[in-house]
Assembly symmetry: C2
Homo-oligomer: 192 residues x 2
């Protein structure tokens, strides 16, 4: 539980942000930030990868990762506290647990897939160590952004972002913002 509540000083420098109109006082933390507070350390995602892969026991994970036992213990406790994993006893006397994904934990799979995909694309010189394939055709899969309403795949240039309901500084005048498709900016200039 050593989450650091670093709260940036609200840009008192009033940076002449070329595109921004006005106040930048919104203090909600962006979702990437809160996510990183939970799984944004060196080991958590690696631990989760092991659980995804079916290694549910302390010693299995520890052997695979080579992580120090106290760290693994801390990471597991933290993940349990954050409701990403749950401890389910598989024997009592001595109580021993499996660590299993909660729904919330399982919902991290897109992130794991995205991270794995990036490593594959840019670092796997002899090809990916592991590939995800389609059950029916056996062909490699990829991740895409899609629009459930239109039921179609959306290319990066067709993505826009806008302040959501949780944004405390929604300014009507800049409600919808074009994403620069060259640079693929995925966030608008509202200070979330």
């Amino acid at each position: 539980m050593t989450i650091d509540h670093r709260e940036r000083p609200a840009t008192d420098l009033s940076a002449p942000n070329t595109s921004t109109s006005g106040d930048t006082t919104a203090m909600d933390r962006c979702s990437i930030e809160v996510t990183l507070d939970v799984i944004g350390d060196r080991w958590s995602l690696l631990v989760l990868r092991n659980v995804f892969r079916g290694r549910h026991r302390f010693s299995e994970i520890q052997a695979d990762l080579g992580i120090a036992k106290n760290l693994l213990s801390d990471r597991l406790s933290k993940l349990v506290t954050h409701d990403v994993l749950e401890r389910v006893p598989y024997q009592d006397r001595p109580v021993r647990h499996d660590y299993r994904l909660t729904a919330k934990g399982a919902d991290l799979s897109p992130a794991l897939i995205a991270l794995m995909g990036w490593g594959d694309r840019w670092y796997a010189t002899q090809g990916a160590p592991t590939v995800l394939v389609h059950q029916s055709c056996g062909e490699p899969l990829e991740q895409a952004v899609r629009c459930p309403a239109c039921d179609e795949i959306v290319s990066p240039g067709k993505i826009r972002s806008r302040p959501g309901p949780g944004n405390s500084s929604i300014r009507p005048s800049s409600d919808r913002q074009e994403i620069d498709s060259d640079r693929q900016e995925i966030d608008e200039d509202v200070d979330d």
Copy 2:
């Protein structure tokens, strides 16, 4: 350049790894691991989010994040070294740079989107601070796994994984493995 080359001690304990048949000498590191070596620290993804969002200057990023200047300097250098960002001078004497995404850096957007989505789904109680919407219909987008060959969306249960060409311990007998769809395991039991 403080990547720690933690190379797990090859499990000298000769852990009786229940599920694995035989040698566990494969030494390629899984793609999630190599990815985390590049962007798997507390700040890198947050820095990248800022660059995605159009903040290209040292001081802009520093003001937004409230990160210590030496750390930001380190992170930026590291990201430049890893070819995720590039420094493009926008003036000389004193040389000043913008930090811009390389293709490799821009290719991290699915990961950022996935992480943001997870934070939105599980922590944004009053709704997401930022939502990604479809340009044409304005409806919120989601990420999905799809099969380019079949041109269809693949649900988690239809995903299988198998050792890829970069896996140095491909054992033909266990070439294709079913993913437990309840727990959404995304990796097979080969020691990558």
